[in-house]
Symmetry: C2
Subunit: 425 residues, 2 copies
């Protein structure tokens, strides 16, 4: 009998759930102190919204849900699309924009949203990647200034530090600066999207790879050369101020407001670094691109030496809420890579408290009463049928997470004794 969960998904055992719940509690507690408030949307959304809004690569990965009440046999050749009306969400951003549009009359402005929940992607299963996984997002909707960006970064750095995920490195960029690089290199309009997708691979494939891929996509050799030159000049600036000065010189189409915004976020990060005990470094990095197509302003990633990729990332997406709401509302968000953070977080093992060992002849109400008296002090107490090999059993209970035990014998409860992971005390 195969009792595995569906391919690409997993069961979570008690110690795993404990660890995840403790990390979630830590993140939530931290984000709440910044004024972010949890909201929840259903796991299912209309398929048209999931597929249409900004799906791109994600669209192929949607779990599609069949309409209810279909006949048991398809009568005539039918497009699959006609059989489907819902899908499982693949991220928390698309549902959030719908949520905001649906409920904005009951929400303050700006609204700080926190979302922690599962999303589903039918990706090819591979080690450490699952088809159902948890995302943890905070978003500020309705804030035009980079106060949103600065605060999202501070909240995330604080939350990661609280979980022991440090030191971390913040890399900051702006999609409009990238667009100006593209424009100066001779790329504009529709062509910018694919150009960004290639540039996003620089980390992995280097400049030779990027230039060859740009050529393969039909961008001229001059585009690739000019891109490498400009990005190289920006990246080699001695400090953030010098980088911004160079950007102003090299990118005539770049709006001064973009540079001013980056200066402000940089000032906030500098101040935070000086005043807090957070353990982070930061830089302006013209090679940060971010995958999603919807970003319109500053973008950022937070990395940790022991995690592949980034542990958090996000940016401004001013156009997205408007597609649902019908009027423009500025928005900015950051997502913690929850499944990566779980592995890095410093979380203690849960103490299961006192194991109450009882013999098979003991009256049930006596056994329950013994555990009740222990619990009255606020500690956990778990009932365990006593085995004949007590030594081995105590070792197992210690390994399971109990820190002490008592025995119930002929209605009386023994003194409490402590358990250590090596065995009985």
């Amino acid at each position: 009998l195969d009792n595995s969960p569906p391919r690409g998904t997993r069961d979570l055992l008690p110690d795993q759930v404990s660890r995840r719940e403790e990390v979630i509690a830590g993140l939530v507690g931290c984000y709440e102190r910044f004024g972010f408030r949890r909201v929840e949307t259903p796991a299912i959304e209309d398929i048209a919204r999931l597929a249409g809004d900004q799906g791109g690569e994600n669209e192929k990965l949607i779990y599609r849900v069949l309409k209810r009440g279909l006949d048991p046999v398809i009568a005539e050749a039918t497009p699959v699309d006609e059989l489907v009306d819902l899908g499982l969400r693949f991220d928390l951003t698309v549902p959030l924009t719908r949520f905001y549009a649906n409920n904005q009359g009951q929400l303050p402005s700006p609204f700080r949203a926190m979302q922690i929940g599962p999303v589903w992607r039918a990706e090819r299963p591979q080690k450490g990647r699952y088809r159902q996984f948890t995302q943890c997002d905070i978003d500020t909707i309705g804030e035009t200034s980079v106060l949103a960006e600065s605060e999202l970064l501070e909240a995330t750095l604080t939350a990661l530090a609280a979980m022991g995920v440090r030191p971390v490195e913040v890399r900051l960029n702006d999609r409009r600066l990238l667009a100006a690089v593209a424009g100066t290199a001779g790329v504009g309009g529709e062509a910018t999207g694919a150009y960004f997708v290639t540039l996003d691979k620089l980390d992995k494939i280097g400049w030779e790879g990027v230039k060859s891929e740009l050529a393969g996509r039909g961008y001229g050799q001059a585009v690739a050369a000019e891109t490498e030159r400009i990005v190289g000049l920006l990246a080699s600036a001695d400090d953030p101020a010098a980088l911004l000065d160079r950007a102003a010189d090299l990118l005539p189409s770049l709006d001064a407001g973009v540079l001013e915004g980056l200066r402000q976020t940089a000032a906030s990060l500098t101040r935070l670094d000086g005043e807090s005990e957070l353990d982070f470094s930061w830089s302006l990095d013209p090679t940060v691109v971010r995958g999603m197509g919807y970003y319109t302003g500053q973008i950022f990633e937070i990395a940790h030496a022991e995690a592949a990729g980034s542990v958090a990332g996000g940016g401004r997406y001013d156009g997205l809420v408007g597609r649902s709401l019908g009027r423009e509302v500025p928005a900015c968000g950051i997502s913690i890579g929850f499944e990566r953070v779980i592995d890095l977080a410093e979380v203690g093992r849960k103490d299961l408290g006192v194991a109450v060992l009882y013999g098979s002849g003991e009256p049930i109400e006596e056994v329950l009463a013994a555990a009740r008296r222990l619990r009255a002090t606020g500690r956990p107490a778990g009932l365990v049928p006593r085995r004949s090999n007590t030594g081995a059993q105590l070792g197992e209970l210690a390994a399971e997470g109990y820190s002490a035990f008592v025995t119930v014998d002929s209605g009386s409860t023994s003194e409490e004794r402590s358990l250590t992971p090596e065995g009985s005390s």
Copy 2:
């Protein structure tokens, strides 16, 4: 633009999520003190398992998930079943039995499981019922004696009381006692299932309704009359002991172990009532049936005067794990009607802490630093752009949940002042 969530589902606003999370934390904290440990399974399960295991009425309500990689057009005469490989879980019991069978080598025996999570049923939407809703189950797997039943009831009564859901009323019965009633009335084998379904409606339709439905289903008039007579005699017993004596007299096919088990659970409830400060009453009730077909032993319901139906219910289902595992394992569980308990729970409003009001000209890093200093004391502090009509704004902030405010002006932060729901202090 329609931005509603899918039909029958809902968005949860910040105050709703706060309330739900506080109730969940209360239930989890209580159950953990009893040694129950959270496990999680994926939202999706193989469709064959969902539809086949014990689906019954629930099977029609399953959200079915399309296979990935289907051709864009489905050929004529294709059975819908061939398009589907997964479904959304409709309860937490079917996934738990799979989980236990899949992971039992890593779990203690008996294993106390706690599950809190969403389930999906494509029911006709009606007031107060949703197609995605939360279930909260605890189950003890591997315990033969009614220690499991007694402990599940105690844990649930304790958890409900901790949430302010009291007084409550426990009604206890046993499926084997019901089967003996059926047998004595002349019903056996396959016919028992439908007989129980009808008997389960006694609360709603009364004896006249039950008798007429039994007749309509083809049971003879003698069956209906004898059922009413036996159940009436049992229900009119003066106390639980008298009821058990009467059952022994009236139901010759009833195993003495069933009565002994009920005596033990009754003794545990009596002892609990005497020793704890829980506010509950209890009774043996021969009219408790429970809907699910898989119960094999004691069954129970917990009711509260202000809730329609029960606030919790469950029972023993010794056969169900074996269907997945291939060998018999005793099991018993109880489920809290989470969505009902949410309405009854006594939960305070969340304090959002200090609203930090700032003017538009204030440097961003100064505003962030002011909030940071407040948060350093451990309190929440939320940034709010100051409006010109401060009086109205303070009233709104109080209504939103802030308990105090400061203003940031030219880099300096004012003294903290308290906010009351009526307006500023």
